[in-house]
Symmetry: C2
Subunit: 356 residues, 2 copies
DNA sequence: ATGAAAGCGCTAACAG
DNA sequence: CTGTTAGCGCTTTCAT
């Protein structure tokens, strides 16, 4: 009577099984699956055949244990309601997958410290960590560095600059917006801030204020939207109710501008682009939808993702390399939500941008 | 002269190091980090101290090799431009993280077969796989099953029903929309399809047509938007240019409805909700933005994510359990883009829904 | 309750 | 080019 296989989870074939079937040693099997290894074509063929027959796939877990590299990169993301982040995540994931990495996703609960989840980064021996949006304690960044795990911040930066980062040109973009508004004849600009402690919001505000001052315009009215849709709507409401109503609203990101757009049109009957100008920052997907049609400073998503990968590779190759802070230039994309100035409007790659 | 540590990536502390420092055996250290294990409180304390001193963290890779469980679940997602998916991804990730799993993200390139990436699923010995949006060859699903890896499809279903799935009530929701339009006095409804071979689009169309027929209304005009923004805009343009202009547009998902909204208002000067009714499916984030204000059938994102987890747990506990196809009921959320019928409009949890 | 010993499936010297 | 031999860091019997 034939002995039947035990039921339940059939154990996957191992390199040993393949070796036995192919009549070679187990190390030969290993070599057959290692790109650069020296192996006779004939042996490789025999192994390939046996492997195919058994449905063998090298166990990456076992490989990682030895090589101490998992080919997995942690990506901490949150705030996915803001359509900028899914786009960034997709670009980043594509870039990393293209380079042979897998992405382990951490969606930090807003408010929660990201540290507990990030403990896992160390436990799983991830090759590197990309922090998009979530905050990171400097203690943890240090610990990662000690463990030899490169960290790159995306669209975020620490005070000390000790951790590598990739950001858009927050300061320059905001300054450009100030000049754009001035050129368009706006005289009472206002600003809706994001989170007070976020580098993006602070840098954008600083760039805006400084440029405004340099142009001889008054400092902007200001309200805080905490990068939250409902709170941004409240902020817009507050600003548009001011005795001297602002003639322009610069929102620290598109997500808040989407809220402001609705408030202006539906609650104040102000047509964006005609009676009030509303400008965002990011060029998140919906900004280009005709129903939304938001003028905004576009962050270059693909190049930013590519830059993250290159910095990561750089750190992986040389663990002692110093941190780099990459600032990627973007463009002011002109749509219907802000009045155009008489000069500097040019078409570029099928879209209107402002080049003073 | 004191011997200094070798430079470069300092090797992380192992259970052996901790054991040596604590003066216990390596297995004692293992037990100290295993929740249910029998260990003397005193020993546990000594181990904890030594571990803290060395910054020791159990290597999950090594553990996985033995336990054959990685606590990692693969999630294949794509089409993140459609804001429904980031929301789903976030909910799913939160649910899985809450249950102690990590999420390995696969962003299948559109068009590409998902199989090559999914090979990785097998190599990494993932515990399970959730397919949101990406297509999955039945060959691969079979292979996963043979390898004992549970697969759950999210917002997608196979013909044969051999793979577990969680979907919204596509047929029922679409039928409800048909009845809603009829009740609102619409007489010439049209339909914008998504991808012709997607179960979501097919089921929504079938539900819509059948209900329309039952109501004695003519079959809807039809155009295909392929779940793509630009193509959906084209489809809307085509339908709204028809000699007998439709008085309602049901789009197979919100993302396409966002495009239709823009076309109606900007290109045809038709105010959605007054001159033409536009309805979507999903209740993706922007649908509720006042600038957008889309009437749509809401899929219950959180419950769907929770259901995926429960089905996964079920399959993990019993690998031989049969596939289940969960259909989660949603609600028709009323906003400004579609004319309201005189009856059945009720307020529920702060929003307007239709309960005929 | 604890330690010794045997692997998990694989890679990486090392001889041949 | 190939097989043999050690482990990677951990969990898990099995005695004690």
């Amino acid at each position: 009577m034939a002995k039947t296989r035990a039921p339940g989870p059939i154990r996957a074939a191992t390199a040993h099984d393949v070796a036995r079937l192919a009549g070679v040693s187990q190390s030969a099997v290993s070599r057959a699956f290692t790109p650069g290894a020296s192996i006779a074509p004939d042996t490789a063929r025999k192994v390939a055949e046996a492997a195919a027959r058994l449905g063998y796939r090298p166990n990456l877990i076992a490989r990682s244990l030895i090589t101490r590299r998992s080919s997995i990169i942690g990506v901490a993301a949150a705030y996915l309601e803001n359509p900028f982040y899914p786009a960034m995540l997709e670009a980043l994931s594509t870039a990393l997958e293209g380079a042979g990495y897998r992405v382990l996703l951490f969606t930090a609960r807003p408010g929660e410290s990201s540290d507990p989840i990030l403990e896992e980064v160390l436990r799983y021996r991830l090759d590197a960590l990309v922090m998009a949006s979530a905050s990171l304690s400097s203690r943890f960044a240090l610990e990662c560095r000690q463990a030899g795990i490169p960290v790159v911040l995306l669209n975020r930066r620490t005070e000390d600059g000790a951790t590598s980062s990739v950001t858009g040109d927050n300061h320059g973009g905001a300054a450009l917006i100030a000049r754009f508004l001035a050129a368009g004849g706006h005289r009472r600009p206002a600003f809706i801030a994001g989170l007070e402690n976020a580098s993006t919001s602070r840098e954008r505000e600083a760039g805006f204020r400084e440029a405004l001052a340099a142009l001889g315009l008054p400092p902007p009215l200001r309200a805080v939207g905490h990068y939250d849709f409902a709170e941004a709507a409240r902020a817009a409401r507050e600003l548009l109710s001011a005795p001297e109503r602002p003639d322009a609203l610069f929102c620290a990101n598109d997500h808040m501008a989407f809220a402001a757009l609705g408030v202006a049109r539906r609650e104040f009957g102000l047509e964006p682009g005609r009676e009030v100008s509303i400008i965002g920052f990011d060029d998140a997907g919906p900004a280009s939808w005709p129903v939304v049609d938001l003028t905004t400073y576009a962050q270059p998503i693909q190049p930013m993702a590519a830059r993250v990968l290159s910095i990561l590779s750089h750190h992986l190759a040389d663990p002692a390399a110093p941190a780099v802070g990459a600032v990627m230039p973007g463009e002011l994309v002109l749509r219907g939500s802000a009045r155009l100035p008489p000069q500097g409007v040019v078409t570029q790659e099928g879209r209107l941008v402002w080049k003073p």
